[in-house]
Structures are given as C-alpha cells and as structure tokens.
C-alpha cells in the first residue's frame, strides 16, 4: 500500500489533503466536539514546534524561553483587539504586527546571548522566558496593561468581515462549529509555516545555520557572519511563535500569564526531541502526539472510576509520570526521535560502522 502510494505522489497528496479536510468531522463524529478543539491546539503546537525547530534544530541554539514569544504574540493581539484598550483592529493587521514584535524581541533577547553556548544559553533564555511571564503577571499597575494574573478577556475572534470564526455557521444546511472553522484556519497557517521552514532549510541561510550548529569557529572561518546568522535564527523562530500566540489569543478569547510558563517551553522542546530534531515531519509528529496523548489520558480517570469506584491516581499526575518514562525510554532506545531524518538516524546508529571503518582506513595507509 505504501509502495503503491510512493509511486504515485500526486494521488498520495490528494489523499492526504482529503484526509486533513475531513479530519475534524471524523474526529467530531467519533470522539466528540471537544476533540476537535484538541486538534486545533495540536495545529497551534505544530506551528510553535516548527518555529522552535529553527532555533534548536537548525541553528543548534538551545532556547528554553521560547514561550515568551508565544506570550508576546498573544498579548499584542489582546491589546489591539479587545475591550481592554477599546481597540478592535482586524486580525490581518494584528497578526503580522504581533509576529513582527515577537521577531524584534527575538533579536533583542538573542543579542546578549550571542557568546553563550549550550547549557549557558539554555539558562539565560530560560530566564528571559520567565521575565516576560512575570512582567505579564505584574503589569496591572501602575498602568493596567495586562490585567495581571486575572488575564485578559473578551478578545476578538478572527473574523473575515462579518464572518466571525467564533460562531457556528451553516453551510448548505450543515452546521459547522467554531472549532471546525479554526481548524481550517490553523491548518492554512501550518502549511505556510511548514513551507517557509522547508525553504529555509535548503537555503543558503539554512546551510549557514547547520554550519554554526556543528562548529562555530569553523563556520566563521568559512566567511559566515555568525552573529547575524544566529540573530536571524532567533528572529525567525520568534516570529513563528508570535504568530501562533496571536492565533491562540483569538481562538481562546482569553489569555493569562499561566498559559506561558516554563513547562510550556519545555513541552515544545520535548515535541521536537521526541519527533526528531531538525526534521520537519518528525517535529510535526512530535507536536501532534504530545498534544493528543495527554488528552487521551483523561479517559484513564473515567476508567478508574468505573473499575475501582474512585480515582486512585490523578490522570494529571499520571501524565507527568508516563511522560518522564517515555522520554527516558526514547533517550535509551531511540535518541534520534520517532521520525528522524535519514542522516541523523545513521549518525546515531553508526558507532560500530565508524570503528570498523576507522581501523580499515589505518590499515589502508599502512598497506
């Protein structure tokens, strides 16, 4: 079956398109409407993971504060399209501004960290992420910018003219709910982000990112302006984060600092690591799995109630436990991720091959 499709890429593409188009209806009919919302979130996380993948996967800069850019995009959307300041700008004006603002902050936060590598970079970016969250938590005084921990409410939904995605609309007698409508919007954005990420990977800049990831000194000796190239990675990643943030704010209608904690950053990083760092299909798989599986675990609570009469282990605790175990198992048995690029897979499973090859080449020289 797979070979059959591989030989007919156009047919495979059409099948995937039909499947993606029908997915919310299949899921909605089979599992209930709440699962369509889970799909929407999965798409948001795909966007975030693809954005962070530029920074971590392509350029090798371990960023633990990525959620700060998500927060900036979300808050900017709330400022420009909610009763808070009485502004109600249309989404097509707000989303680009939010993405741009996040991109600028990407450069601002990236600049002081240029000399840092690895663990040190991770710690500093982690700090930045927390700073933004704490700012949002406390900027309700002296001027009320963010409403503090209460969060911002009544954020405008995405609307095309009078057509608001927050309402259920009827098409040819079919009722299509808001979750479905957002699904298609998010899907369109995911496709754009995916396209950009793919193009970047194969570009001159993509190669420069790969070079600084592998060896910064050698990269600069090749004539790569490592400072600019790194800042560009931060900016591109942050832009995608800001975009996802704006969409999140519009979709939820409510945001608060709680949504932008450290756990969120770590979760997005885990999606990349689990899926396959640097490999776009892998990153997408990781993001979908890590959004959908925790939701599925909620059923464990119902199941316990049915079997034991009470909830012995809180599904939320179980989630972290299983999650930790899954990560450990991954690192032991599949460090390259679930769906890695061919290169990375070979690299991590090639230890024996290298040893053999190494001794062979020494004999070569002798002979």
């Amino acid at each position: 079956m797979l070979d059959f499709l591989r030989a007919r890429p156009r047919l495979a593409l059409i099948l995937v398109a039909v499947l993606l188009a029908a997915l919310p209806f299949l899921v909605g009919a089979g599992l209930g409407k709440s699962w369509v919302r889970v799909l929407d979130f999965a798409l948001l996380y795909v966007m975030l993971a693809l954005g962070l993948n530029i920074v971590v996967g392509y350029a090798g800069l371990l960023d633990l504060g990525y959620v700060a850019f998500y927060a900036l995009g979300a808050y900017l959307y709330a400022w420009l399209a909610s009763p808070h300041f009485g502004l109600h700008l249309p989404f097509w004006a707000v989303l680009p501004v939010g993405a741009l603002l996040a991109g600028v902050f990407g450069v601002l936060l990236g600049a002081p960290t240029l000399r840092l590598r690895g663990d040190y970079l991770a710690i500093v970016t982690l700090g930045f992420g927390e700073i933004i969250r704490i700012f949002m938590n406390n900027l309700d005084a002296p001027i009320n910018l963010t409403n503090g921990p209460q969060g911002m409410n009544l954020i405008d939904p995405i609307a095309f003219g009078g057509f608001a995605l927050s309402k259920t609309h009827k098409f040819f007698g079919f009722a299509v709910s808001n979750a479905h409508l957002y699904y298609y919007l998010f899907l369109a954005f995911v496709l754009v982000v995916m396209f950009v990420a793919l193009r970047l990977q194969d570009s001159r800049i993509g190669r420069a990112w790969a070079a600084i990831r592998e060896d910064e000194v050698a990269a600069s000796a090749m004539g790569i302006n490592t400072r600019n190239v790194k800042l560009l990675a931060f900016a591109m990643g942050a832009t995608f984060g800001g975009l996802a943030g704006g969409l999140f704010a519009a979709f939820q209608g409510f945001i608060s600092p709680e949504s932008f904690g450290l756990m969120e950053s770590i979760m997005i990083l885990c999606m990349i690591v689990l899926g396959g760092m640097g490999h776009i299909p892998g990153v997408i798989l990781g993001a979908v799995l890590l959004t959908v599986l925790p939701e599925a675990l909620r059923y464990v609570g119902d199941w316990q109630r049915a079997m034991l009469g009470h909830v012995a282990v809180d599904p939320a605790d179980l989630r972290m436990l299983l999650f930790g175990c899954a990560l450990i198992l991954m690192m032991l048995f599949r460090p390259e991720g679930l769906w890695p690029s061919r290169q990375r897979k070979r690299e991590l499973h090639a230890a024996d091959e290298v040893a053999e090859h190494e001794s062979a080449s020494v004999y070569d020289v002798r002979g």
Binding site: E214, A218, A221, I224, R227, E347, V354, S361
Partner: protein
C-alpha cells in the same frame, strides 16, 4: 611587501600572556612554518591573526590592516583557516562540507570545477562524498578540512596542527598533500608541533617558545641548528 605581516602581536587570556609581541611575515608563494612545543602560543597567534582572539599589535594582509575585523570578514579577504582539531561539520556530508567552503563564492560553474579538483586531489573524499563527515577517520577528516579551506580559493592558507591526533602514516600522507598544494603556488602558514615534518616541507620557519619567537630563518638552517635539534628534533 609581504602578503602577511605581523608586528608586535600580543594576546592575553585573562592575566596570562600567551603571545608576547611576535613579528612574522609570509611572502606570496611561500610555505612558512611556526613551530614550538605544546603551549608555546602558536595556535593563539594564529587565532589572533584570523580575529578569533582579541589582540594587540599589527596584522597586515595584502597591505590592509586586519585589526578589529571579524573572522568572517577576514575569511572573505582571502585567508582560509584549517582550525585546530579540524573543525569539520560532523553532521553534514562530505560534499556539504566542501560546499560550505565555497559559502562566499557566487561563481557556481567555477565552484563545480573546484569540487572535481578537490576530489582529484583527495580520491578518498570522492568515494565518501555522500557520507556524514563525522563518520570519516581522523586522517580523512583532516583531508576534508584542507579541501574545504581550498574550496574558498584562498590567497593564504593557514593550517593549525594538521598532524594532531593522527597515525604517523596518515601524517605522512597529509604532509604529502600539503606539499602538493604548496607546489601549485599556494601561500601557506603552517603551525605545527611536529618540527621535523614542518621543517622538511617549509622554506622558512619561526620557532616559538613561551609566547615569543626565539629563532627564525630558512628551514634547512633551523633543522641544522643545534638548539633546535636538541629541543625539537629529539637529539
């Protein structure tokens, strides 16, 4: 005027002075070596020249000062560094590594011709062009690092300890290639701990000891110098 002219180069690491005001120059077409024991400051001097370390003193290349210019701009001016420990891009393929060497070049047709030239010089790399560079043996990685540097069509090639960590026979092979590259007219500054080999292939040499140049002259004379023979050639 020399292609590379270094005057009073000073490099500090915190309070420790690694290079103490050294002078050296490299003429167009020459192979010059800078030898010395481990920790003498040879690599630091080279890093200073290419702008990887902040330094005092003067560095002039083809008449223009390199001082305070970032490494990537120095590379663009025609200096190619083969870094200490080779610095290959382990998770890129051999061909991709070579392509990175030509990162600044826009003449696609000439770049393609240069691939063939490099593959002809290093047949081993041609065989493994699709393989990840990190999976090559140490000697092959060194060949790749040299090939990658040549891909930028440099005017001056700077080699930092090309013999480091290699089996003696592999070292011999690397040095044969360095000689071949020099015969084609490449100007080379070679930093090397293996004084015996370096003095064999070079025309002139500098001997460095705790941050200062203590001896300089034609390589044959240095190789015959009793001081050098005792300290560096193990006699």
């Amino acid at each position: 005027m020399s292609l590379l002219e270094v005057k009073g180069l000073n490099i500090h690491y915190g309070g420790i002075q690694a290079v103490r005001g050294i002078d050296l120059n490299v003429e167009e077409g020459e192979l010059v070596c800078l030898i010395g024991a481990n920790g003498a400051g040879k690599s630091s001097a080279l890093k200073g020249i290419v702008g990887l370390l902040p330094h005092g003193g003067q560095v002039h290349y083809a008449g223009a000062s390199l001082k305070d210019r970032p490494t990537h701009a120095i590379a663009a001016a025609g200096l190619a560094l083969v870094p200490e420990g080779r610095g290959i891009f382990a998770r890129l393929t051999v061909a991709e590594n070579l392509a990175m060497g030509a990162y600044l070049r826009r003449d696609a047709a000439a770049v393609r011709a240069d691939y063939d030239r490099i593959y002809a010089t290093f047949p081993r790399l041609a065989e493994r062009r699709g393989q990840l560079a990190g999976l090559l043996s140490g000697g092959e990685q060194q060949m790749l690092a040299i090939g990658r540097a040549l891909m930028s069509r440099p005017r001056l090639l700077l080699l930092d300890e090309p013999s480091m960590g290699l089996a003696p026979l592999m070292v011999q092979k690397i040095y044969e290639t360095i000689q071949a590259v020099a015969r084609e007219g490449m100007t080379i500054l070679l930093v090397e701990q293996n004084a015996h080999l370096a003095l064999q292939v070079s025309q002139r040499g500098y001997v460095m000891e705790s941050g200062a140049i203590t001896l300089a002259g034609p390589s044959a004379e240095l190789a015959a110098d009793p001081q050098v023979r005792v300290a560096y050639l193990g006699e």
